[in-house]
Symmetry: C2
Subunit: 446 residues, 2 copies
């Protein structure tokens, strides 16, 4: 009889695991359960769906259950996994439409339960007009609310990527936006100097930006939010997005006795194996490892979820794949401004005890004289002893940020400044100055 | 008394050498001579100056002689170097405005005489309406001719980068364009399969593309070109651009007894030293070395000229800089289509005796559902034995081509497919699919 793989979770990591396992082991029976109605959707596209940049929610769905069925991968939606019994190799599940509880056995199990928004404990959270953004349902709720209530003044709590991307899309709906960040600067995974460029840009576009500011509660009128109480006083608003990070959906793993790691994410090794026999975890519910430090980290990202899912699936199918670790590479755009980072920020380096030097340059994304050349700022952080590049940060316009991949590739291979300083990067006036900004930055370490 | 550096040539390599030498050795007397009226100009911008994308020729000039004078770098224009006497450490020069001949001595000499267009020996080359494009003067001549004569049917001979870039700019002037290439495919530094994408695109935009076609002569009427005789019959045209490559201006070096290398370019070592004591060469007049093969190559590029100039200048100033070699990275755009390449093409690999595998993928430059996502084709060539990536080629739209730098960085460090296959590249819907096209291509080798 065929071995059976059960996957809990139907988005990036879960569906990648299911697909890969079936590819490496076509005889495997593959069964996916998800508590959502939607599967295989592009969560990172949701801000643009809200902004009507993407018009149909179908566009966000990479592949339907019917398409997976044709690959002999069974997907059942609206089913919640409620207990894992590792000793019995069994999962207990519940069908959400009729509350029916049933058990299924597995030979291999992949936990890909993802993460959920962290919601700070604020008073009056039950008012209308207060949202988080994680699922297609969240985005449909926000779309409906914006269409019906036409909010004028949106408060975005949390200045990470989702908060920033939502600013753009709220402005598209005509909202005035106030961004509140608890930390001393927005874009907390970048250094303060680079984040300040984003901060200044947002203010130049009419966004109010309050840093080092706590939200303490929400105020309503007729059950609709009308203000937020902050450490800087009351902020009038008729829409609130809480984008204050996510927490891994690891409770089901913890209850089954699986080891958790940093930030309570499920601990996995480089093969995506959990502490329990035949159980893998992947995606936003699991830890990963930093390529530069080897340290266990929790950096939930769509890219990592896909890669971890692929690795878990390959191993669950009988292969032997290993994760190389991540660099925490990230990219985002807010209005016309692009930002990206990879490796370790200067701040992270200092915290980790690296002795580093950082240099920041300003240049153009195309030849200075070429129409549309955008400003670009590149910050590089280099280890003083090994001279290895440890981190890069880019903020700018007009194709600035995707240059981060040149640095990500460089850092991945452990390259030193000396190896990279005269790299033969591509130049022609519409694409770059003759010295690409990445090279200009590297040359500061000559 | 201060040592004296003489530089022959005032564009990319020459001015980079002068500037760098002065920076590393401020006591050095630095004297630049150029036979041109213009210095320090962006030759790669000339097609866009012709297309009126760049409106003022001043915009193409990075720095004027006055600005160099303020750095204590003396530049004399319209002076031709006519003889180098290595035994006497002397250069004989001629002022072009009054034919005055004079000698100057040097302690160090940098030859940065560049290259000139290769002009095939065709009959009736003296007709009006026939151009090459290399200098600001060339571009002014073309601009004047287009403005006065309003040519309707332009023949571009040679399907390399300059020919392709000029197609775009001739179309901006309302010309119908015929592109003729002698080789079996256009973009000769790419493989035929990738070049075919460019070929098909050009045809879809109304450009006639004739490959494997020789131009044998030109036909005139009233001293103006009216047709070209080709191996495919006569081609009516009232404008001809000959963009059939360049040849190094190395005669002055050869006459002085300096060794020449491949394609008659001046032979230099990794320190940019020629075979003569205290004489360096840099830029389009000199050879370079391929990073992957160590072979001497002649790949004249603005980027390489700047780097070689910098290295020659540093060494002429008393430092010790070395060139790491080049990857032959190149990028160009024709209308909306972008193309780039780095490392060795499959064709080059085969010629050089590498046993390689190539894979080509088609993907999108942004998330599939994101408006404006462009088609992108990525071809990777990998060594079968070492599994090192040897070359990459990209053709596509909407920010496709600059991704070549991710591959250039990877190849520079000697990385294998295994090291790169799960690299943490940047993703967010406006910038990339969740698997960047570069990763999709790498994954074909899993």
């Amino acid at each position: 009889m065929a071995e059976k793989l059960v996957v809990i979770g139907g988005v990036a990591a879960g569906m990648s695991a299911a697909s890969k396992a079936k590819r490496v082991n076509p005889a495997l029976e593959v069964q996916v359960y998800t508590d959502d109605e939607f599967i295989s959707y592009a969560g990172c596209g949701l801000p643009y769906f809200i902004g009507d940049v993407i018009l149909a929610k179908q566009d966000l769905i990479a592949k339907t259950a019917e398409q997976f069925a044709r690959q002999d991968i069974a997907v059942e939606t609206s089913v919640r996994a409620i207990q894992i019994k590792p000793a019995d190799k069994t999962v207990i599940l519940q069908r959400l439409n009729n509350d029916e509880i049933f058990a299924t056995s597995y030979d291999r199990l992949v936990i890909a339960t993802g993460a959920r928004p962290f919601v700070p404990a604020l008073k009056n959270l039950d008012l209308n007009g207060i949202f988080t953004l994680r699922t297609i349902h969240d985005s449909l709720n926000i779309r409906r609310y914006i269409a019906e209530m036409q909010p004028q003044k949106a408060l975005v709590v949390g200045g990470g990527y989702i908060g920033l991307e939502m600013i753009e899309n709220l402005i598209l709906h005509g909202c005035e936006v106030i961004l509140v960040e608890r930390a001393p600067h927005i874009v907390p995974n970048m250094d303060e100097d680079m984040a300040q460029i984003v901060h200044d840009y947002l203010e130049s576009k009419g966004v109010s930006v309050l840093t080092s500011t706590d939200i303490n509660g929400l105020v309503g009128e007729n059950k609709i939010v009308c203000a937020a109480e902050s450490s800087q006083g009351n902020i009038d608003c008729d829409f609130v997005l809480l984008s204050t990070g996510v927490i891994p959906n690891s409770e089901i793993a913890a209850e089954a006795g699986l080891a958790l790691g940093v930030k309570n994410a499920i601990r996995v090794n480089e093969r995506m194996e959990t502490s329990a026999d035949s159980i893998y975890a992947a995606g936003d519910c699991a830890v990963t490892y930093h390529l530069l430090t080897g340290q266990e980290v929790y950096i939930p990202m769509g890219t990592t979820a896909n890669k971890q899912g692929k690795i878990a699936g390959e191993n669950a199918g009988g292969g032997n794949a290993r994760s190389a670790g991540v660099l925490g590479t990230g990219i985002a755009r807010v209005l016309d401004l692009e930002m990206a980072r990879t490796g370790l920020s200067e701040n992270e380096c200092t915290r980790l005890g690296f002795e580093v030097s950082s240099r920041t340059i300003s240049a153009k994304t195309a030849a200075r004289y070429y129409p549309g050349a955008g400003d670009i700022h590149v910050k590089l952080t280099v280890d003083n002893n090994s001279l290895r590049v440890l981190g890069g940060q880019i903020v700018g316009f007009s194709g600035a940020a995707k240059r981060i991949d040149t640095l990500a590739a460089s850092i991945t291979t452990g390259a030193t400044v000396k190896q990279l300083i005269d790299m033969d990067l591509a130049y022609s006036p519409p694409f770059s100055p003759v010295w690409d900004p990445v090279l200009i930055a590297l040359n500061q370490f000559a």
